[in-house]
């Protein structure tokens, strides 16, 4: 609470018993109008996106863009090196022998999409991030083992220490704690 007076961001963390309780609590928070909260679980829980009112990830568009870049980059590379910069006749094939260029074109399109998928996922998620307030909570360590948490950020307009705590408790949250950002 001290942290709040100093205007620093903090997170209210509540633990839930099982995926079902987490899902229920998430949808109730969403219905109550909370925006800045997240559910932490050891594995992805289906239905949680809808319960939290999250849209589908836009990662696919990024990957599609990079697939096109990889494809056209590979075609340009092979066309320019073989038909423009240093044309050579090899086994009687035309300079721009597009059927023969397909394997490399395909490979480069796949390669760029894979990098886009992984790096895009990390960028969208703000990872890598090695320091986070949640890491200072002892019980939060169990989130990668068998515990389910909801963390509501104090930055949420609806956040109120008493009311939010009551709401989380009424939804079955236990071991509620407030974690403050440390400088």
């Amino acid at each position: 609470m001290d942290a709040d007076k100093q205007g620093r961001a903090s997170v209210m963390l509540a633990r839930f018993e099982n995926p079902g309780a987490l899902l229920h609590a998430a949808s109730e928070l969403h219905r109550a109008g909370y925006k800045k909260y997240d559910c932490h679980s050891p594995f992805p829980i289906h239905g949680l996106d809808r319960a939290m009112g999250l849209s589908r990830s836009r990662l696919g568009y990024l990957v599609g863009l990079f697939a096109i870049l990889g494809f056209s980059g590979a075609v340009l590379l092979q066309w320019w090196t073989h038909a423009v910069d240093y044309p050579t006749i090899i086994s009687g094939k035309p300079y721009f022998a597009y059927p023969a260029y397909l394997p490399v074109t395909f490979a480069l399109a796949v390669l760029l999409s894979a990098f886009a998928a992984v790096i895009g996922m990390l960028v969208f998620n703000g990872l890598p991030r090695f320091n986070h307030p949640l890491f200072s909570s002892d019980q939060f360590r169990r989130t990668t083992d068998n515990a389910f948490f909801i963390g509501v950020e104090s930055a949420d307009p609806l956040f109120d220490i008493e009311k939010t705590k009551l709401l989380l408790e009424s939804l079955g949250g236990s071991d509620i704690e407030i974690i403050s950002e440390r400088d």
Partner: protein, 460 residues
């Protein structure tokens, strides 16, 4: 929601439990983490001493090869491709089962894959590493290997993109990179588990670094799951394309026995066949040593044995159709090549191939054999032998007996060829031993989704 319930009901009523022993979430974490956290077993030290020595021998032989030249091998003219290319094709093929399990079975919603995908993917990575070394050292002048990449140079020339040998560089390079990314993305949540369980500072720092600060938030899982799905989607065509490209190394040439259109599918099926044999071999050893019988169950092994049976039939069909087309084409060189394979100098290799790949796997028709651990261990090892000999038959018989009898020649490997083959197994197994000692061998975050506790509607 209702479809979720129906899914889970269907899942429970008709399918065998994917994980036995009814573990809890914490049980899964504890079981799998214990492998990497407990005291290193004595057997592990003994095993890595052996495989590590072989791996060192492998690198020693490579140094000798580079300092001396390709003459240390048994290759000659006409048989310019010996063990190096056989081993290359063999190891790339092994990798394919890992990708099939991680990508295709994921897209097909085969939830049983969750127990075996992690180590199968690791197997893929290590197999591609072994594979990649062979063509690299086969170029002879390793110090100009960068000529294979389109780098501007003072000669002004570029690599020949119309050559299958260059396609290979890109196909295998992409395959390795994608497999590595796919494997690593799958590992992130489990590495975070290791980070959170870490008792020592070194473990906390290393796994903290590797897990990239993963917090398991649903706003992260959302992107994570889509990234995983996309990686599965783009790895799926790789299962088919990589070995197809490898097969064009042969089929684009005009040699009898190589110049056939059946090669791409034939190679892909063979690759999946041999890869599953390797997965089963490793799975049997893993589950025995680390007592993972509840995770890698007989149900998993039996499914993989069925896949081997199916792919064995497909491989057998390819052998038969090759013969038929050789006769039906009316091309005397083709016909001679195939009769020579079955009756000539290297007929012993051909019949090892046919027995190990087509005849012996037929034993899997029997449920008793399909579910017997010793039987499947022996059969899977024999399949690997058979698939290595398949590549031997393809490479050596065609090259040694091509068109003109005056240009025929025989091939026999030298001690260096054999040493490199054995050494590559040493490298493969060393990497695998390191992996099972330090990393989560089973995808914990995925297994947790298939145990009954994970069902959202169970409590309400």
């Amino acid at each position: 929601m209702s479809s979720d319930i129906r899914d889970s009901l269907r899942h429970h009523s008709t399918e065998t439990a994917l994980v036995t022993g009814n573990p809890t979430f914490a049980g899964v974490t504890a079981d799998i983490s214990a492998i990497a956290e407990s005291k290193t077993p004595r057997a592990w030290y003994i095993a890595i001493a052996i495989t590590g020595s072989l791996a060192l021998m492998f690198f020693g032989l490579i140094v000798h090869l580079i300092l001396t030249g390709l003459g240390v091998w048994g290759i000659n003219i006409p048989v310019g491709w010996g063990f190096a290319i056989i081993n290359f094709v063999f190891w790339v093929g092994i990798g394919h089962a890992g990708t099939l399990i991680s990508a295709i079975l994921f897209l097909l919603r085969q939830r049983w894959r969750t127990s075996i995908n992690r180590f199968a993917e690791a197997m893929t990575l290590f197999a591609i590493m072994c594979a990649g070394i062979f063509p690299a050292i086969h170029v002879g002048r390793l110090w100009v290997i960068y000529w294979m990449f389109p780098l501007p140079n003072q000669m002004g020339v570029w690599p020949n993109f119309r050559s299958p040998l260059l396609w290979d560089v890109f196909a295998v390079g992409t395959y390795f990179t994608c497999s590595l990314l796919f494997w690593y993305v799958g590992l992130i949540p489990d590495l975070a588990t290791f980070r959170d369980r870490a008792k020592t500072k070194i473990r906390r720092i290393v796994f903290g670094f590797l897990s990239l600060g993963w917090r398991g938030g649903n706003r992260h899982w959302r992107h994570y799951e889509l990234a995983y799905l996309i990686l599965a989607g783009i790895s799926t065509p790789l299962v088919l394309s990589v070995h197809s490209v490898v097969s064009t190394d042969f089929s684009v040439s005009q040699l009898p026995g190589w110049h056939t259109t059946i090669f791409p599918p034939y190679f892909v099926v063979g690759a999946i066949f041999s890869g599953f044999a390797m997965v089963v071999t490793l799975a049997i050893i893993l589950r025995k040593i680390f007592k993972l019988q509840n995770y890698i169950t007989l149900f998993h092994l039996e499914k993989m044995n069925k896949i081997m049976l199916v792919t064995s039939l497909m491989v057998g069909y390819a052998y038969a159709i090759e013969f038929f087309i050789a006769w039906y084409s009316g091309n005397q060189y083709e016909l001679f090549t195939f009769i020579n394979r079955a009756t000539g100098n290297y007929a012993w290799a051909y019949w090892i191939m046919v027995s190990c790949n087509v005849l012996i796997p037929q034993l899997f028709w029997s449920k008793k054999i399909r579910t017997s651990i010793p039987a499947m261990l022996i059969i899977s090892l024999l399949i690997n032998v058979g698939m290595w000999f398949e590549r031997f038959v393809i490479v050596v018989t065609s090259l040694s007996r091509d068109f003109l009898p005056s240009s025929w020649g025989d091939y026999s490997p030298t001690i260096f060829d054999l040493g490199l083959l054995v050494g590559s197994f040493g490298l493969f197994l060393t990497l695998f031993l390191l992996f099972i000692r330090f990393f989560p061998v089973i995808a914990m975050s995925e297994v947790k989704t298939v145990i009954p506790d994970a069902e959202v509607h169970r409590e309400r």
